[in-house]
């Protein structure tokens, strides 16, 4: 596991917090961002789901 520092603007976090509030992709910003990233990769590069 690698811990990566990623910068986000406050405006981006407002949108990410909406996904956090939905509760379907994680319960913290960090979990949701990772889930969004993984779904993006799946949509973009394809491959099997985890």
């Amino acid at each position: 596991m690698k811990r990566m520092k990623v910068r986000f603007t406050g405006q981006q976090l407002v949108l990410i917090d909406k996904i956090v509030a939905e509760g379907t992709m994680g319960t913290t910003r960090e979990e949701v961002i990772r889930a969004m990233f993984r779904q993006y990769v799946l949509q973009t590069l394809g491959g099997a789901t985890r």
Binding site: K2, M4, R7, F8, G10, R29, R34, F37, Y40, V41
Partner: protein, 338 residues
Amino acid sequence: MIPIELGTVRYEEILQPVTGRAVPVMKGEILKIELLEGPQCVDFNCFNLHDYKDRLSVGHMRRYGGFRVNPGSVLWSAPPRFNPLMVLLDKPDTCVTDILGARCNAVTFERERGYPGLHTNCQDCQAEAIGEYGLSPDDVHDSLNFWMNTGWDDAGTFIPNIKRNRGRKGDTVTLIATNDVLAVPNICGSGDVSNTSNYFFRPIRIQVIERSPDTDGLTHLLRKRYMGFKNQRTVADFRNPEIKTERALKRDPDYKPQFVNYPLQIEELDIDLDDEDMRQVKRLIARGLADDPEDAVRSGAMTWYTRNRTLQNQPEALDFDIADIRVATRPLMTKQES
């Protein structure tokens, strides 16, 4: 097919070449523009009747619907108001629309065609029409062009005269006002020197049709869909609500801009990625989809948001609940006709 029942025609005028008319169309009313003899390009400007600075922005129409306007397309005003002034309800396929060509002007004919005098043109025609409401030539804005069969090449070069006008006698464009507007159609002044109107000028008829319960219902639906956003601002929201009357620009040394959300807040988050995530990060960078690992995660997450939580910029006719509207409005007919 359930035709919408329109009110009665309250205003009708035949516009002769090369004239125009500024005509109020109130919320819920219908404006029809009809070719009386055949192909004729019609330029169109539109103002909010209660605030002339709130006016059509074909640039923003392009932003949401592309270069052509189709049934369902919203005639947006410019930000910061961004109001739906009217909605195009119907047009025949022979009415090719254009929001690239802006409007012809006298300099065009002098510079490009060597016309020695003052040729008819839409800038001056619009200016004369809106003068009736105290507006000036500076208030003419880039037009929505009906029956203007323009083109462009792969490099994005605009080609105004590539195709002949396909308009036919009886072709009719139908718009509904979603706000009280001053609508300004004019017969394009370039008609006799270009394909825009097939090298001639022809008259058009304009009609304003009163509200009816059906058009009120449709207007309510459209306003519900396209209004009510808190960022659709009014003059009351402006930091400077004054209309500048002095033409020369002078710097205000005491002015302090208040840029939105400035300075930006930046937050650094710790994202835990496993070996498979890191492998995908490398693949994204290798494919040119990210510049570095941080960019890969941030751009990836935000691209997901764009793809999955954003209204896509498809032509608005496709983003429209078009089935309801078309069923409700085609064919359009008046009480007398029905």
